[in-house]
C-alpha cells in the first residue's frame, strides 16, 4: 500500500443471502482512498454505494458478508475481521459516519449531550466534568449556538439541520481519520444543505480528515469532491478527478448519468432519462453490466467484462471503448456542453 493511501479496497466481493438466494452486491471492486482527499461515490439507488462503505466499518447487515478480496487500513485487512472486538478498534476511532436522515439517527430518549458524551468517553478517554466540557465543545465546534443549554436538550427540540450538526459533532467527538458521509444532505432543505457541506469541509481542513461522500446528487459532488468514483451494479465503472469525470467522461454509463442533468436539457423537450433498469444482481452479470441499457453497446460488451483502461494517471474507466481495437464511439454531443452550461455545481 502506498504511503498516501489511507484506505484501500482490493478485489472486494460482498454477497447477501436473501431467502436462500445469493445477491452479489459488490462485484470485485478495487479503489484507493488517498489521505486528506474528498472522494465522492456516486451511483443510482441499489448500486452498492452504502454497502461498500459500510463494509469498511463492519456494519453490513447480518445476512451480508465479504466473500472475497481485502480492505486495507493501516496494514490491517479489515475484510478478515471476525469479532466485534476487532471492529471496535476501527468504528468511530478510525472511521466515523454521518447518516442520511438526522430525524432518525439520534436516540429520541437521550439528550444530545449524553449521545455525544458516549463518543467522548469511548474515544477521548475522558471522564466526569472533563468529558462533559469536551462534549459541549463538540457542540460549539459544529456551530450550534448556546451549546451549554443545548447539551441538555433532546433531539426533538432541534431542527433537521441542527440535528445533522449534532450527528456530525458525534462523529467528530470520536476523533476519526476518515469520515463517511452517507447522503448527508438528502433529507435537508436546499439552504441548509450548503451550510452542512460547508461545515464538513471546514472540519475536514481543520482536523486533517479524509472524507468519503456517498450521494446521487451531482451538485453536492461538484461542490465538495476532489475525486469521483461512479458506481453501477456493484462495480466502479469510472474513477477520476472531478474535472476528468465531469468534463471528459469515458464510460457510457457516466455519459448517461450526466445527460440526465437538468442543465443539459433542451428547453421544451423532456429531460433525458436512462432506459431500462439495472441488472438483477441475483444472477451473474455477463460482460459490461450497463450494456443492455446502452444503445451503442459493442458486441463484446455482452460477452466479456471489460478491464480498467487508464485515460490518465488519475483517470480510469471500465469500458471496451477505450481498447485500441474498439471502433470510435462518440459520447452524446451535449455531454461536452456541461462546462459552457456552468458546470454541475449550484454555487
Amino acid at each position: 500500500m502506498q504511503d498516501n493511501v489511507i484506505l484501500s479496497f482490493e478485489d472486494l466481493d460482498i454477497r447477501f443471502t436473501l431467502r436462500g438466494q445469493v445477491l452479489n452486491a459488490i462485484r470485485g471492486i478495487s479503489l484507493d482512498v488517498y489521505r486528506g482527499e474528498s472522494l465522492a461515490i456516486v451511483g443510482e439507488s441499489g448500486s452498492g454505494k452504502s454497502v461498500l462503505t459500510k463494509s469498511a466499518m463492519g456494519l453490513l447487515d447480518a445476512n451480508g458478508s465479504i466473500a472475497g478480496g481485502h480492505i486495507w487500513y493501516d496494514d490491517k485487512d479489515l475484510a478478515a475481521f471476525k469479532t466485534e472486538k476487532e471492529w471496535l478498534t476501527i468504528r468511530g476511532r478510525e472511521i466515523a459516519m454521518v447518516m442520511q436522515d438526522p430525524m432518525t439517527s439520534l436516540n429520541p430518549l437521550k439528550t444530545v449531550g449524553a449521545q455525544i458524551l458516549e463518543a467522548v468517553q469511548l474515544h477521548q478517554g475522558l471522564r466526569g466534568p472533563e468529558a462533559k466540557a469536551a462534549a459541549v465543545q463538540a457542540l460549539a465546534d459544529v456551530g450550534i449556538p448556546d451549546p451549554q443549554a443545548r447539551y441538555k436538550q433532546y433531539p426533538h427540540e432541534f431542527s433537521g439541520g441542527m440535528r445533522q450538526r449534532v450527528v456530525i459533532a458525534i462523529a467528530m467527538a470520536c476523533r476519526p481519520k476518515i469520515l463517511i458521509c452517507d447522503e448527508p444532505t438528502t433529507a435537508l432543505d436546499v439552504t441548509i444543505q450548503a451550510q452542512i457541506l460547508d461545515l464538513i469541509r471546514t472540519l475536514q481542513k481543520k482536523l486533517d480528515l479524509t472524507t468519503i461522500y456517498i450521494t446521487h446528487d451531482l451538485g453536492v459532488v461538484a461542490n465538495v469532491a476532489d475525486r469521483i468514483a461512479v458506481m453501477y451494479a456493484g462495480d466502479i465503472v469510472e474513477v477520476g478527478s472531478c474535472d476528468e469525470v465531469f468534463y471528459d467522461p469515458r464510460h457510457p454509463y457516466t455519459w448517461a448519468l450526466l445527460s440526465s442533468l437538468p442543465q443539459l436539457g433542451v428547453k421544451g423537450e423532456d429531460l433525458y432519462s436512462i432506459q431500462g433498469t439495472p441488472p438483477n444482481l441475483f444472477y451473474e452479470v455477463k460482460g459490461d453490466a450497463f450494456a443492455p441499457r446502452n444503445p451503442k453497446a459493442l458486441k463484446i460488451d455482452f460477452v466479456k467484462r471489460p478491464p480498467y483502461f487508464d485515460v490518465s494517471p488519475t483517470h480510469k474507466a471500465r469500458t471496451w471503448l477505450l481498447d485500441p481495437r474498439a471502433p470510435k464511439v462518440e459520447p452524446p454531443e451535449h455531454v461536452y456542453k456541461l462546462r459552457e452550461r456552468g458546470g454541475v455545481g449550484y454555487v
Binding site: M57, L59, A62, E84, L88, R91, G92, R93, A96, M97, M99, D101, T104, S105, L106, N107, P108, L109, K110, E118, A119, L122, H123, Y154, H156, V167, I170, A171, C174
Partner: protein, 316 residues
Amino acid sequence: MAKYILKRVLRASVTLFIIITILFSLLRLMPIEGYFDNFDKVSSTEIQVKLNSLGLNDPLPKQLGRFYNQLLHGDLGTSNIYRRGVSINTIIAEKIPISVKFGLISFALSLVMGLALGIWMAYSTRTRFKIGDRLGTVLIVVVQAVPAAVYHIVIQFVGSQYAGIPMLFDEARPISYLLPILSLSIGNTAYYAMWLRRYMVDEANKDYVLLARAKGVPSGAISRRHVFRNAMVPLVQYIPGSILSTLMGSLYVESLYSIPGMGGLLVTAIKRQDNTLVQALVLIYAVVSILGLLFGDIMMAIVDPRISLAKKEGSR
C-alpha cells in the same frame, strides 16, 4: 405537570361522581325482597320498619346525599346480607391484604420472567437458528390461545400430583403459595415477553442504533442503554395499572385454590343482592381503573421526554 395531574384528578372525580350516581340509582330499583332472609313470612309493618331503618324509603336524592356524606368520611357503608351489620371497610380490610400479597408477588415475578424472556427472544432473533425466539413464541402462543381456566387447572394438577405441593392454599404453609403465584403470573409473563421482544426488535433496526454502532459502542451497551431502555417506554404505561389491579384479586385463581381474597367478593355480593357491598366494590374497581390510567400516563411522561403532559394536554 402538577397542574396537569390536578386537572386529571378533578376530571376523574367527575367521572366517579357520575358512576356512583348511576350505580346507586340503579341499585335502588332492585326488588326489596333482597333485603330480607325470609320475605314471605315477614308482615308488611315489619317490612316498612326495616326499610325505614335502612333509610330506603327516603327520596332518592336524599339517599344519595347521605351516601356521599358517608364516602367523604371514608365510610363505605354496612353490609346487609353478606355479613349483616358488619362495616364494609372491615370486610374489605380483611380480604384485601391477601389478594394484594399474591398480586404483588406474582406481578414482580411476571415482570422479571417476562422481561428476561423478552430480552432473550429479541437477542435470539439475531442468532442463526433463533432457538430462543422459537421456544418463546411457542410458550406465548400456548398461554394466549389456551383459556386461562385450562392452564390454571393444569398447573394445579401437575403441581399437586407430581410435585407434591398442596392443592389448596394454607396460610401456615409457605409452599402452598407457589402454585397460585405461578398461575397468577404466567399470563402476564407471556404478555410482557411478547411486547418487549417486539419493541426491542423494532428499536434494534432503527437508524440511531446503527449510528451508535458506527461510533463504536459495544453491542452489549447498545442493547442496555439504547434498545432496552427505548423498548420499555410503551410497556411502562401498563405497570401502574397492573400493580393497582392486584387490589381486586383474581376471581378464578382465588376460588381454585380457596384463597380468602377479594376475587370472588363482587360475584357473591351480586348473587346475594347485598346492594351496599356491590356499590362499595364497584366504586373501588372504578377508582383503581382510573388511577391506573392516570399513573400510566404520568409514567410515560417521565420516561419519554417527547411527551409533554402540560402543554399538549388539549390534544388528548
